[in-house]
């Protein structure tokens, strides 16, 4: 599976820092609210390089997980 990012919906606070700092524009703000009332971020594949920028911009410990394509076809 290609490089990608998993967002834990419930942990996102909708601050947009990951979205604004993604070099490949692979993140967007969704329209739905999570249980804390935040419009959480969503991953949209636009050539994610697994650079980790979104991970480091995100202040929440577990909201973002970055997965790199290891060429084996699995996650």
């Amino acid at each position: 599976m290609a490089n990608h990012v998993e967002i834990a919906d419930g942990q996102c606070k909708g601050c947009r820092l990951c979205i604004e700092n993604c070099p490949t524009h692979s993140l967007v703000q969704g329209s739905q609210l999570n249980k804390s009332g935040y419009q959480y971020a969503k991953f949209e594949q636009h050539g994610c390089t697994a650079c980790g920028f979104c991970y480091y911009m995100c202040p929440e410990p577990g909201a973002i997980t970055v997965i790199k394509d290891d060429g084996k076809g699995g996650a």
């Binding site: 601050c15 920028f53 480091y56 995100c58 410990p61 997965i67």
Partner: protein
Amino acid sequence: MVKHAKPKSFYDEFVRKGGPGEKNTHYCPGCGHGNVHKLVAEVIDELGIQDKTVFCSPVGCSVFAYYYFDVGNVQCAHGRAPAAGTGVTRSLEDGIVISYQGDGDLAGIGMGSIMHAANRGEHMAVFFVNNAIYGMTGGQMAPTTLVGQKTLTSPFGRSAGGEGFPLTMCEIINTLQAPVFIERVSLANAPRILKAKRAIRQALVNQVEKKGFSFVELLSPCPINWKIEPVQARKWIIDTMEPLFPVKNFRNLEEAPAKYEKPVPVSDADMKKLFNVEKNISVTPKEAHIDEQLVKLAGFGGQGVLSAGVLLANCAIAEKHNTSWLPSYGPEMRGGTANAGVIISDGQIGSPLVDNPTFFIAMNGPSLDSFETDILPGGMALINTSLIERKVERTDIKVLYAPLTEIAQEAGMAAAATVAGITMYALATGVIAIDTIKQVIPLSIKRKSLVEENLRVVDAAAEYFRKNLEKG
């Protein structure tokens, strides 16, 4: 392959006081504390130091760091994390100590604490989160608030004339000799955050390698109190903070300029030397258990009340009792009133205060007036009739009357009247042997010429006691 995920040094769930476990922090959206927490936790993972790390958290928004970090935690008094950390790092030899502080905490109320810890080169990594404002309390001006910056308490903008200039802590710490590593970093964007991680890593590697005091300042956003959106807040760091707080390394030494040497416990022999009590004296320890003795000696300053108390305490120590001595005197050590409380016990002594003596020695009238009512019922009082004319009014205590000053004067030393008092105390209670007093006097009197006079006073007092008071 998972490349970046929640660091292991965080708890899986954050259990907050009185609430259910949560996965997210208590920080506002876009707050820099979360970024710093993540970097610190990642580096702890990478260095494999989770089990020996002690995180000293401040008062400020990050007060609850112990909800998040699965390491040792101390929640410190406001501004005192470097002081608490000093205690931890000095006693926990293998420990990795982190002092995590905000700008109000570190550069305001805790300024003294950080300066001295830095100046001593304490082995700790300080992570100084500078968001130019008091976050937790709702956005008041901080020591690092910029000139012109509007806060709750500088609504028209900070004025340098009225409120001073912002304190630049890296530059200030850099005037000290002891620190090994000083760097300022910024959380404004991803490349800067990766640089910040390298600085945090260096500061913690320095702890693993026992290099010394390492200071990392992180320019960090407080979007809520800056009243700007999280994304704009990061830009504000670049545009407004970084020009005043330059992001750079200030120092990176290979070795600390001074090394801390753990104090070696002083040996009994050296301790005796320090306190000038090297000579051993031979006493036959008493078989009988003594009841707790609460002795108070009171007189005017210069009468030797305090040193007589020391003499009594030393005699009791020589006889292997537990002893305390507590002096009390006014600002005028001579001339005013003075008293000493001596407790002699075979058990543990809790407080050295003697509020209600079992034995009271009154050297002058004002002392008797002050303390007569305090004596324990069934206790004893020794009255220096040379200076006190009146009788004791209490009827529930035993009273001994003796002209202590005159006895001492006739023996050649009026100033030793209190020694006569101690002698009579020893005879009246049987707690201390006269022989012990005579062995201790040469050890505790510095001027050898006075030893003879004092010993004569002891003999004279003992003789007076046997003749006049023993039966009474």
